[in-house]
Amino acid sequence: MTDLPHVAAAGEGPVRPGLDGRIRHLVSIGALVALGDRHAMRTYMRVAMEAGIGTEAVRELLLQAVPYCGWPRALEGFESLGAVLEGMAGVRTGAHAGPEAGGGLSGEAYFRTVYGAKSDEVLSRMKGHHPALADWVLRHAYGEVLARPGLPPRVRECIAVGMLLVLGTQSTFLSHLRGAIAFGTTPDQLREVLSQVTLHIPEERARWAFALLDLLPEATPAAGGGVP
């Protein structure tokens, strides 16, 4: 069957050590939403929910896909989820919201954690592009979506990294790589996040992403400590 590799990958990935299996599931689903592969998306969603990921967590992920991948992709995701749930009628899915409870951060605080010292510069640059853009990003993307309590920021950032790597938008990828670290993800965990996505992207991009992660000072041990 055509969905065998996906089933295999979806089933295999989450059991690797180094990253919470539930995050692996969500990162994979996010990457596939970004990619727009409906077939694989459904397979992964089904496997994830069978493994205990709650519907609400997936729905949160799909809402998050709106600012990152655009609402058409998000809509595809919701439709896929609907189909999966239909097919799974009667099957017990995970009751918990996601890997852990989250939220409690305002949209702007979330934004400033991701962009750190560069926050004002980034905002100013966005204002320069279009005054409404900065407002939209802060108020809607961060304020109304990312700051929602459904998923913790650390998980959302891992999902974002996956989505952006698929999209190949380099500077936003870089920003969220740092955002993930700022919210407590370790470089090794991030390597796992990247590994989770490499199946769905060209080889050059995968190498690029790993190289970039290595080069980040946050990811590098102090001088003399050797390079992983």
């Binding site: 004002d120 870089l174 690029w208 970039l212 080069l215 400590g225 390079v227």
Partner: protein, 1151 residues
């Protein structure tokens, strides 16, 4: 008179380098001593007349104007004898108005027609203009005393008689002085006898040259400064006794205790002298209107026409109202003629093709000036306030300053002379005064202190114009201590402080021209300074006596713009209309935002270019603000950074009250202009524009008491306007903070137009603009070097002179190609260039050296000129190499001269047509490039075809903290790393210090922008001597020394260029192209294989996108060593532009 004695023989410091008493000090001392009257009798002039008169009146002292005139023994036009015997002194005092007018004529004539060593009158002239004057027979150098000293009593009596006849018996007094000098006493007794004999009166004077007795030693030093002597020299002019001061009445009565009538006569003379100068009248010439139309009507007609020209047939109502308001004010204040006169001379300039600036100073606030085309700034468009320029409360004449093209300025002055009469027009005098630093140097020299000591002390005084020694001492503890270090130095400082500020010399004001309604000699004494005739009164005093003054400034930028426009026209057939450029041209703003300010008006300095890059101006308003902000005050106050942040949305634009929004919108809420202060006061606190102008002035001067009063008035006014008190307080606080730094927006706006025009031409016609710039900088080697460097950067080729293409100055010979002028070649004069051009006109194009020699005047284009032309490449277009041409030069000259001789006797060329022969004989190998360049440098002063440093230019740019053309803009003592070529090394031995006799060196560093002198001291010299070889390319590290006229470097280390990257890189910036994903992976491997300590920053940039690239400063495990191999490999991966080395900014990299 209450006092018992009046001083009638008094010199101020306007008796240049002789008198040492400032007028103010004399009057203060007189006042303190209770004197009711005081005379001023400077040597041969009336320089201080009005200043003395006005200050005396203000202090309640009766001023007696006068002059210690020089009188020629015979006719004043007869030039015989020496400085000592070609003139006598005589004291003249003004008795009444007629006397004043006569004295003005006398001192004028003395300068214009009687000058021989001194400005001299003669007895005929005195007879013609003696009415209203009182004469005193004078000091020991007078005619009468001269005879008495020689024992020639009869001649003395004859002289007395002649003066009595000229001035009237009752108006000539025999002057006795007693400074304790024997000769004076002897002559005094004889004068008393003579007085009895002829029935004349005696008067006693003291020859005052300084204010108090204790000033005598300082005065003696001042005399030495004037005569170039040292104080210990015996053979010099000196005042024998310390008695030449402003003695009290009691002291004077004591001096003349045996001759009481001498003191009494001073009172009588003072009573008889009564002069009332009229400061209320204005001597504006009436403008000759056509057909005798009344001036007001004429002005209104011109304005109506101008309105139609500027705004079409239906100007907006706001403009009509403003025009009417301005015209009413101008009429009410009687300035109609003034505007007509200024308009007329500007029209003349424009008619005659003399470029005129778009405006200058506050006159750009006037709509009348705009419609009359006096200015090019629409004041309503930029919210410029007329009252900043003219208002009823202001008694003095408004100032319309005009910039003219440097070349045409003299022609405009000549036009004014012709129009209003040469005798009604003059330039204006200005006085050079002894400044703080100069005082230390001059006094130090006179006291014979060691030169290095004086030099060190002088350099400790900041080089700020207008600084006083007291201020310098106050601001510098170290200097205070130094100034007390020993008796000698203490003496130096106390004396210099006494002498600083005294007048030293007279010269011509750079811009001012005065126009009178009658011959100026009826109003003001004149002075001759070389070829210039100037007034004897300074600017402010001329205004006081009602004379119209216009500043005619010469501005080179206008000449450059005009020349550039001509070049464009020559090449394209269309001349850019600089007056009507669109002010929203994106390319112009892009050029400015890139910081490419070299050659752009007021944007040349390094600081300004950096500011341009930070601000990225994109509106004309930004340029106006830039010019207003780039000054020490706003820079130090942090206003500039705040402005930049606000523009880019990085800092909040806060406007404390909504009504201020339209006023402050254009400057992002920062108060940049005085006009904004005025507008805020007007709108928020109901100030009238006149009051608002007073507030503006007070903010500039920062007088706490005045500001406190205005604050009260402001808060009250704001309350009435319904503004909450807290807001009013806040706004006033803002005004007080920013307002003090506020700049005249009218001036900024007018000048911003020039900035814009120059930037526009540079952006759209770069070749023509740079050629024009170089044409007018051609006398300045460093500026040309800098412009050539800018051309190189811009991709414009500057080519050596060419006998087939060049004219005298720079020429545009094609898109991106500028030819050096033949005039730039050393030893080639204008006439030689003309001869080449004439020859070229005959043959069309020179085809050989021999043909060239046949068709130019060989007396002008001689062998030396020919050799220089060959060496600089001017014959390269003949297709023969330079060494071959030089070898054939003598032959070509012989051939040329014999052909010319044959032609002169009517024969054709006996040896055929030299043009066909190819000129030189056998072809020789060309000189090596280095030699060619060396010759170019020798003959032109520049490397033209290439530059030995061109190859390493990127490296020099990367690591130099400044280039030579930027040093003057930096701070004294600043650490500098400068890359360039070593030239002119001169080793010397130290004379002083711990180990005298050690080797050190002075050398020059040349870069692509110019050169700078350097010095390296023994310890460092020893370490780096192997690199101090001419033409060696190195980086010199050292400290900047700005204490002399030219910047120099004290070098502490040298780095050879080939090791620069390795030793000087502080950070490596790698530009990783976005989208090429494989590169980053390979780059990581590359970084891994070159481990080191140099940080690496990755930039992920889409080169076509705006804005800052995303950056990653890599982890320390990936720091590298910037070896040659690494750089090569990185360039291979990322391309040349993918690698930027950043200089290590630590101050002492080499230590």
């Amino acid at each position: 008179m209450r006092s018992k004695f009046v001083h009638l023989h008094v010199h101020s410091d306007y008796s240049l380098l002789d008198g040492a008493a400032p007028i103010e000090n004399l009057l203060d001392a007189a006042k303190k001593q209770g004197m009711d009257a005081l005379a001023l009798t400077d040597h041969g002039n009336l320089f201080g007349g009005i200043e003395f008169y006005r200050h005396a009146i203000a202090k309640g002292i009766k001023p007696i104007l006068g002059c210690e005139a020089y009188i020629a023994p015979r006719s004043r036009t007869e030039r015989a004898g020496n400085a000592g015997n070609s003139n006598h002194h005589i004291t003249l005092l003004v008795r009444n108005d007629a006397g004043y007018r006569n004295l003005v004529k006398l001192v004028t004539e003395s300068y214009l027609t009687g000058f021989y060593y001194r400005p001299r009158i003669d007895k005929d002239l005195l007879a013609a203009h003696g009415e209203g004057l009182i004469g005193l027979s004078g000091c020991l150098k007078s005619e009468v005393n001269g005879h008495l000293t020689r024992g020639a009593i009869q001649e003395a009596l004859g002289a007395i008689d002649s003066y009595r006849q000229i001035l009237g018996k009752e108006n000539f007094y025999l002057e006795v002085m007693d400074h304790g000098i024997d000769q004076q006493r002897t002559n005094g007794r004889q004068l008393v006898e003579a007085a009895k004999k002829v029935g004349a009166r005696i008067v006693g004077t003291n020859d005052v040259h300084y204010v108090s007795r204790d000033f005598a030693p300082a005065h003696d030093i001042f005399m030495c400064i004037g005569t170039g002597k040292r104080v210990h020299e015996t053979d010099r002019l000196r005042y024998p006794k310390p008695e030449f001061y402003l003695k009290s009445s009691e002291e004077m009565c004591d001096v003349f205790r045996d001759l009481p009538e001498a003191a009494k006569a001073t009172l009588e003379i003072a009573e008889r002298c009564h002069l009332e100068l009229d400061f209320s009248r204005r001597h504006l010439p009436a403008f000759p209107t056509p057909d005798g139309i009344p001036p007001r009507t004429f002005l209104r007609t011109l304005c109506a026409e101008g309105m139609a020209r500027r705004f079409g047939e239906a100007p907006p109502p706001a403009y009509l109202a403003r025009l009417d308001h301005e015209l009413r004010m101008i009429e009410q204040m009687d300035f109609v003629s003034y505007f007509l006169i200024v308009r007329d001379l500007i029209q003349y300039a424009k008619r005659s093709g003399i470029p005129v600036g778009p405006g200058r100073g506050s006159s750009a606030s006037s709509l009348v000036a705009y419609v009359l085309e006096i200015t090019d700034v629409d004041p309503l468009l930029y919210d410029l306030i007329f009252e900043r320029f003219l208002q009823p409360g202001r008694a003095n004449l408004p100032d319309i300053d005009i910039d003219f093209c440097q070349e045409g300025r003299a022609r405009v002055i000549e036009y004014v002379r012709q129009k209003y009469g040469a005798d009604c027009v003059a330039q204006i005098i200005t006085f050079g005064r002894l400044a703080a630093r100069a005082a230390i140097r001059d006094v130090g020299r006179v006291l014979d202190l060691p030169l290095p000591l004086v030099d060190t002390l002088a350099k400790k005084i900041p080089a700020r114009p207008g600084i006083t020694l007291a201020e310098a001492l106050k601001g510098d503890k170290d200097l205070q201590e130094t100034s007390q270090q020993d008796e000698q130095v203490r003496h130096l400082f106390t004396t210099a402080q006494k002498l600083e500020g005294l007048c030293r010399h007279a010269s011509t004001h750079a811009a001012g021209v005065v126009i009178g309604d009658r011959p100026l000699t009826e109003l003001v004494p004149l002075y001759r300074n070389g070829d210039d005739v100037t007034t004897q009164y300074e600017m402010e005093h001329l205004e006081a006596i009602g004379l119209l003054k216009i500043d005619f400034l010469g501005l080179r930028t206008l000449t450059v713009l005009d020349t550039a426009a001509k070049f464009v026209q020559e090449r394209t057939g269309a001349r850019p209309d600089l007056d009507r450029l669109p002010l929203d041209d994106p390319e112009t703003y892009a050029l400015l935002a890139r910081g490419e300010g070299k050659g752009v008006f007021q944007c040349e300095s390094r600081g300004m270019r950096e500011l341009l890059q930070n601000l990225k101006p994109d509106t004309f308003g930004d340029i106006i603000a830039l010019l207003a902000l780039y000054r020490p005050g706003p820079l130090e106050a942090g206003m500039v950074e705040e402005f930049v942040r606000r523009k880019h949305g990085q800092s909040k634009v806060a406007v404390p009250h909504p009504t201020l929004e339209p006023i402050l919108r254009g400057t992002y809420g920062v108060i940049v202009y005085q006009e904004q202060v005025m507008r805020i006061a007007n709108i928020l606190a109901g100030f009238s524009m006149e009051e608002a102008d007073a507030l503006r002035k007070a903010m500039g001067k920062k007088v706490p008491e005045i500001i406190a009063n205005l604050r009260e008035r402001f808060l009250q006014g704001a309350r009435k306007e319904g503004v909450p008190p807290k807001t009013a307080e806040e706004v006033f606080g803002l005004i007080a903070y920013f307002g003090g730094y506020g700049f005249n927006k009218a001036h900024s706006t007018a000048y911003a137009l020039l900035t814009y025009r120059t930037a526009y031409l540079k952006a759209h016609h770069p070749t023509e603009y740079m050629a024009a710039l170089m044409t007018w900088d051609r006398g300045n080697t460093d500026k040309i070097a800098s412009a050539m460097q800018e051309c190189r950067r811009m991709g414009i080729q500057v080519e050596p002179p060419d006998v087939n293409e060049s004219s005298e100055a720079f020429t545009v010979v094609g898109e991106g190609r500028i030819r050096f002028g033949l005039g730039a070649v050393k030893g080639v004069g204008s006439r030689a260039v003309q001869s080449v051009e004439q020859g070229r006109a005959v043959v069309g194009r020179f085809r050989s050296l021999a043909q060239f020699c046949e068709h130019v005047d060989l007396r002008l284009v001689n062998r030396a000129v020919g050799e220089s032309l060959i060496k600089c490449g001017a014959f390269d277009s003949l297709g023969v190499n330079r060494s071959t041409l030089l070898a054939g030069l003598d032959g070509a000259l012989d051939l040329g001269s014999s052909t010319q001789a044959d032609r002169a006797v009517g024969q054709g060329a006996l040896f055929g047509d030299p043009a066909q022969e190819g000129g030189a004989g056998t072809s020789l190998p060309d000189w090596p490039d280095a030699q060619k360049l060396a010759y170019e440098k020798k003959v032109l002063g520049f490397y033209v075809t290439s530059h030995p440093l061109a190859e390493v230019e990127p490296l020099l740019d990367q690591f130099s903290s400044a280039n030579t053309s930027e040093l003057a803009d930096l701070e004294d003592g600043q650490p500098i790393l400068l890359g360039g070529m070593v030239a002119k090394v001169k080793t010397t031995l130290t004379k002083r210090g711990k180990n005298p006799g050690e080797k050190m060196a002075q050398f020059t560093m040349e870069d692509l922008h110019g050169s700078v002198g350097c010095v390296i001291f023994p310890k460092d010299y020893e370490r780096f001597r192997s690199l101090l070889v001419p033409e060696r390319v190195v980086f010199a590290q050292g400290k900047l020394d700005l204490r002399r006229e030219e910047p120099s470097l004290r070098v502490s280390g040298l780095v050879p260029v080939e090791r620069a990257a390795e030793m000087l890189t502080g950070k490596v910036r790698l530009r990783v192209p976005e989208g090429e994903e494989d590169i980053l992976y390979r780059l990581r491997e590359l970084l891994r294989t070159h481990p080191g300590t140099c940080p690496v920053v990755l930039e992920f940039a889409d080169p076509s996108a705006k804005g800052a690239p995303a950056q990653v400063r890599v982890g320390s495990a990936f720091f590298i060593s910037p070896s040659e191999k690494f750089l090569r490999e990185v360039r291979g991966l990322l391309g040349e532009s993918g690698l930027v080395l950043e200089r290590d900014t630590r101050a002492e990299v080499l230590s």
